[in-house]
């Protein structure tokens, strides 16, 4: 199992943070454009899922699969969106994404007076990046192929 990349968006759709561990295909656009596309895409998936639903939803959109990757989505009540791409064999990792928010994002960004939870996380937030890398690489879904 492989972890590809992570996006964190705030409620205004700004990409706060992007990290990739393994990515074989880059998009043919700048990173900024890609973040906008991803955010707009998630926005329409969310509204699509709500409108199409035959029953009342609680959490709404959770994940989707293609033939080679799976996109996991987790949104907090404050509108922070966590998007993690993994390969297809990964099951439901909602609790992992929640943990990533509650133990890494809250502890090293929200509780850091020099960082802001709604602004772009810049590279001087080393401790956040370090802890995040440590958290992801200790996951059972992060395998040897990822490290190679």
């Amino acid at each position: 199992m492989v972890v590809y990349n992570l996006y964190i968006f705030n409620r205004n759709g700004q990409c706060l943070f992007y990290r990739e561990w393994l990515r074989r295909k880059q998009t043919n656009m700048s990173k900024e454009e890609e973040f906008k596309l991803m955010n707009g895409f998630l926005f329409s998936v969310k509204s699509f899922v709500q409108r199409l639903s035959p029953v009342d939803l609680k959490d709404g959109f959770l994940s989707f699969k293609t033939n080679c990757y799976k996109l996991h989505y987790y949104e907090t009540a404050t509108g922070h969106k966590f998007v993690l791409n993994t390969d297809n064999n990964v099951g439901n990792i909602r609790d992992i994404l929640h943990q990533l928010y509650s133990t890494i994002f809250v502890n090293y960004i929200v509780k850091n007076p020099r960082a802001s939870a709604v602004d772009v996380i810049d590279s001087d937030q080393e401790i956040f990046i370090e802890k995040l890398d440590e958290f992801i690489s200790n996951l059972s879904i992060f395998s040897q192929t990822n490290k190679a």
């Binding site: 990515r23 998009t27 895409f41 639903s53 029953v55 009342d56 609680k58 989707f64 699969k65």
Partner: protein
Amino acid sequence: MVVYSFYVINRSGGLIFSYEHSIPKIELEKTFSYPLGFVLTPGDKGVVVQFGQRDGIKVGHTIIAINGVPARRNNIDFSSAPPTATANDDEPPTSSLTNSYDIIEYLSDPSHYPVAIKFGRTRLAGNEKLILSSIFHSMYAIACQLSPELNSSGIRELETDQYKLYCFQSITGIKFVALTDLKQTNVDALLRRSYELHSDYALKNPFYSLEQPIWCPLFQQTVQQAIDLLERTGSPYA
């Protein structure tokens, strides 16, 4: 194990076939006293609950009827209703002439209480299904573009907390989409089966023109049979 609905989308994102197998009817009627406690806003499908979930009435539900009289989007007309519904109201003569109200204005008047309101989830209208299928068409394409891995297809399986959407795209570019509950298995087999049925009953029909909506009764019947079989036996093949 429930299959909610089934759609076929053509190569350009147009909806050419839609079949609703078993959409649950979500409707609730309750009698309320003043004040109502919901935040209501008018919308293009009727008056929608924006805030104040209680008694099983959720945010997003619309007002379907008041005192047994069906609502017409944001308005309600009591003049066609049986006189018992409004006879006890001491209304000024002007409004008794028309008896037509804006729902939100009607519900903000304490003299109209107690009032029985029926709330529910509205079904997808035909136009809305067309819009959603073209949205899905572009979502499918963007999912390939944003892939971190080479040679990705579009969305095959989309999961929410209450239902799953499965999509199978044939080599000819036609998408077969099924909405099911979370427990339904073997939906991929159903979609491949419906591709066969599409080739047999829709494409071989001399009155069918390509990329146009499918009005073949046999296609509808056989799709329905395949879905029934899948729900009963776990396989769409007899």
